[in-house]
Structure formats: C-alpha cells, structure tokens
Amino acid sequence: MLKKVISYTALFILGFCFLLPFVIMIFGSFKDVEFAQLDPLFWIPEDPTLKNYIYIMRDGLFLRWILNSIIVTVIPVASQMIFCAVLGYIFAKKQFPGREAIFWTFMAVIMIPQQLLIIPKFIMFSDFGWINTYWALTVPELWGIMGVFLVRQFLQNIPNDLEEAAYIDGANDIQIFMKVILPLSIPVVATVGTFSFISNWNDLFQPLIYLTQEKMFPVTLGLASMLGKEGNFGFEMAGSAVSFIPTFLIFLFFQRYFTEGIQMSGLK
C-alpha cells in the first residue's frame, strides 16, 4: 500500500515536471507578451490571442523554414528506409566475398564524431558549390549505418526457409526482397524512418555550418536565429509550437518504434 502511494506520488510529480515546459510553450504561444515585463506566471491561460502566430507568419519566412525542414527531412527519411532495408538484407542474408569486412568497416566509422567530419565536409561542399543548398543536408544523409545495423540484426533472426523456397520457385533476389523480406521488415524499417526523422528534423549543427542565407534555414536554425533576434518570448513559443507539431504527430503514432529501436540498438 505504501509502495503504491509512493509510486503514484512520484509518477504525478515527475509527470507534471516533464509536461510543464510543453504546457508553458503552448499556453505561452497564445499570450500577448512584452519581453521586458514578463512575469513568471504570464502563461496562465486568459485572454488568448493568435497575435504571435500571425506575427511569425507575416512574411512567409517562417513557412519557408518549415518547408526547408520538410525537404531536408523527407528525402533522407525515404532514402534511409529504402537503403537501410536493402543493405540490412544484403549483410544479413547474402553471401559474397568481403561481406563481414565491409560491414564492420562501416560500423567502425560510428566512432568518428560527426563534428570531426563536418570540418572537411565544409571545405568539400564549398568546392562542390553546395553551401546554402539542400544538397549539403540531404546527399550525405541518404543512408546510415545504424539503420543498416538494425535491419541486419532483425533479419538475422529470421530463418532462411522462405527465401530458399522462393529461389526454388524461380524468383530472383529483387523479387524475393520485395515480396518476402520487405513485408517482414516493416516494423524495423519504421524504426529506421522514425529515428531518421528525429535526427534530421532536429538537426542544428549541420545547418548552422552549411547555411548562411536565412531563406535556406530549416526551422531549427530559424528558431535559433529568432532566439537571438526577436527577443519576444511569445513569438518564440509560437514558432516552437508549430515546429513541434510534426515531431509530436510522429511520436504519437510511432512511439513503439522509438522505444523498440533504442532497445535493439543498445542491448544486442
């Protein structure tokens, strides 16, 4: 009984603390605020207004940021799902010389921090003319080794019988992949997609390096520039709330895939 009381008390207190920032964001976005005279409880809902939303939408720049974010997220997500599914299959099921060597070379590169690669990539992309373009944020993200690893792990636990039967029936390997392997892999491919979505949608470091023109910013970098420039908490919260909607929807529908993916990547 005591244990139940402690559990529920802790659950509600922590739950409240974790939700509070989000509540402040949403309520705050509907309040008319002057930054200088902000009081600590300004967000308590009364006199809601759409002023902040109207302000951030005023010149279309914010919508452009959202559009940029969608472009630099959807392309890598779609591509990663395809490439990681196929490569996971190749490394789990196909026999060819150098298979293990190639896979573990890929895996070793995980230890290289992204901050190391960004410096030479900045120089390369300057030469390619990729600065201030979508190329810099999409082309390098077309596949990812973590996703390949997840699919490989998943498929290694699936017996080869189905595949062998399909070969005997005269199917080629692309047909087998499409008809046999892919339908089985949907949960793990969904995990790859959700991870890719979060990492691309939320990325700040790469856009910060590769982009200087405001109109090319994704919404993370755009919001960061607002943080420094506008100085109005209401505008910031309205922008944050809008940029949070896609994350929240993905989270709502794919939460299971996040948690399963975290467990799979961690505890082999």
């Binding site: 590169v109 190391l116 596949w143 080629n172 989270f251 961690g266």
Partner: protein, 292 residues
C-alpha cells in the same frame, strides 16, 4: 553467370553506390581532416604546409584545456543524475502503476523534441531576473534570485540540467528493458527471506542491472563530450568561457574564426577521447557477453 545475377543482383546494384558514398562522405573527409591538421587552410588560395604547428598550439592553448575541463565538469554534472533519473523513471513505470504507457510517453517526449525548443523554454525558466520562473519558485523558500546562465559558476550546471531533462527518458527505456528481464522468482525468493523493498532494490535489482549501468554510462559519457546545442543557443560559450565546451570551442575556432586547421586538431582530440571510451566499452561488453 545468369544464376549469379539472379541471386545477387541486389548486392551489385545497391552495395556499390553505397560504398562509393561511404568513401566520399566518411573516409575521404576523415583523411582530409587529418591532412588539414598539418596545413594552414585559407579561405582563398592554396593551403600551406606548416607541420605540427597546430598540434603544438593545442598543447599550449589554455582555452582549449579549459574547454576540455568544462566538458569534463559537464559530464560530472550530467552522467550520474541522468542515470539516476532514468532508473527512477523506469522503476516507477515498472511498479505496476496505471497509465504506465501514457507516462512512459510523457517521460520520453523531451528525447524527440529538438534542443532549440527545449532550450528556448529552459532559458526562460532559468531567467536571471525575478521574472524567471525558477527564481520565482525559489523565492518562496527564501532564496535570493540567482543569475543562473549569466553566472559563470552556475551556467554549466543549468545546461547540464537541460540535458538531463532531455535524455532521462531514453535512459529510462534501457533501464525499463533491464528491469523487465530480471527473473521475478528472484524477488519472490528475497521476499520470502523477509528482505525489505529497499534491501531488495540494493541487493537484487541494482546489481543485476550492472550491464545496463555500464552501457548507459558509456553512451551518456560519449554524448556529454559532444554537447554543443545548448551552449550555442543559451550562453554562446560564456559567461567568461564557463560553458565553452570542446565542441563549442571547435565551432568557434573553425567557423567563427575560420581557423579550420586548428578546429581539425580539436576534432581529432575529441575523436581520440571518444575512441578510448568506445574501446573500453568494446572490451567490457566482449567479456560481459560470455556470461550470457
């Protein structure tokens, strides 16, 4: 030949482009960066060979060592609290409460939310005036308003707090999986022996989670060495370099100061640290897997 193509076409069609991509976007930059550390890279004109000048500069660069020290201090503030928070959240979720699934989602929500959103709110919560929410709350228990992000001895801890809040939910997932895998009979046996709930936790649950503790400690350590977003968004490395972490310093040197060669040296230092931590993990996990 036809049979080989039928069986392995997919390997050639997909693996070859991916290997090329891997060489262009991973291997080549990695090597280019190393080459860069021995050159003076200029915005215009050809790079000039300068030997180990930038490496020597690093050894005597007080700010670089301060940045490393700040990063270590950040880890101190961050690692144990994140693990403790994750474990507490997992224990609550695992204790058979109702709506566990809903609260698991709530605790996980900051993990998927961008740093920019959380930092915006966090910066306001920890505002350094009486209008800041946290200052407002602590005024009830008689504490003077604190400067928080504007105070060089508090700023790093406030940033660590942000990361704890953001990452606690993913630590929870690991611990939750660990708790679920513990054999229920062990608890039964301990209870029959008359052990109290607290004793069961410290003598049974906590030691059995050892592989999880280790894994989480390693991943949070690696994460803490790469901290950048919150320092960039909230403090700009200040006040008085108090939140200049290694990655922030690298960014500042490379992309504000355009000293890309020196930034490359710093990035190799970061790489060396992460490599050592990862190798410790490999070694330990290699041994650990024998027990299962």
């Amino acid at each position: 030949m036809k049979r080989e193509w039928n069986r392995n076409a997919i390997v050639y069609i997909f693996l070859i482009p991916v290997i090329i991509h891997f060489i262009v976007f991973q291997i080549y930059p990695f090597l280019l960066s190393f080459y860069l550390t021995f050159m003076d890279w200029k915005v215009i004109g050809d790079p000039e060979f300068v030997g180990v000048k930038h490496w020597q500069h690093f050894l005597s660069d007080k700010l670089a060592w301060k940045a490393l020290w700040n990063t270590v201090m950040f880890s101190v503030y961050y690692i144990i609290p994140t693990m403790a928070l994750g474990l507490i959240l997992a224990l609550i979720i695992n204790s058979g409460v109702k709506m566990a699934g809903f609260f698991k989602g709530v605790f996980f929500l900051p993990v998927v939310t961008s740093f920019v959103i959380i930092a915006g709110i966090w910066g306001w919560l920890f505002g350094g005036t009486e209008a800041g929410m946290i200052n407002y709350l602590i005024s009830f228990i008689g504490i003077e308003p604190q400067l928080f992000l504007a105070n060089s001895s508090q700023a790093l801890a406030v940033l660590a707090g942000l990361s704890i809040f953001k990452v606690g939910g993913s630590t929870m997932i690991y611990y939750f999986a660990g708790l679920q895998s513990i054999d229920k009979q062990l608890y039964e046996a301990a209870r029959i022996d008359g052990a109290s709930a607290i004793k069961i936790f410290w003598k049974v649950t906590f030691p059995l989670l050892k592989p999880i503790h280790f894994y989480v400690a390693i991943t949070t350590t690696i994460g803490s060495f790469q901290i950048f977003d919150s320092a960039y968004l909230l403090t700009g490395g200040g006040p008085n370099y108090a939140t200049t972490t290694i990655v922030y310093y690298l960014y500042e040197q490379g992309f504000t100061g355009l000293n890309l060669s020196y930034a490359a040296v710093l990035s190799y230092v970061l790489f060396a640290i992460i490599l050592v931590i990862s190798l410790i993990q490999r070694k330990y996990l290699g041994q650990e897997s024998k027990h299962y």
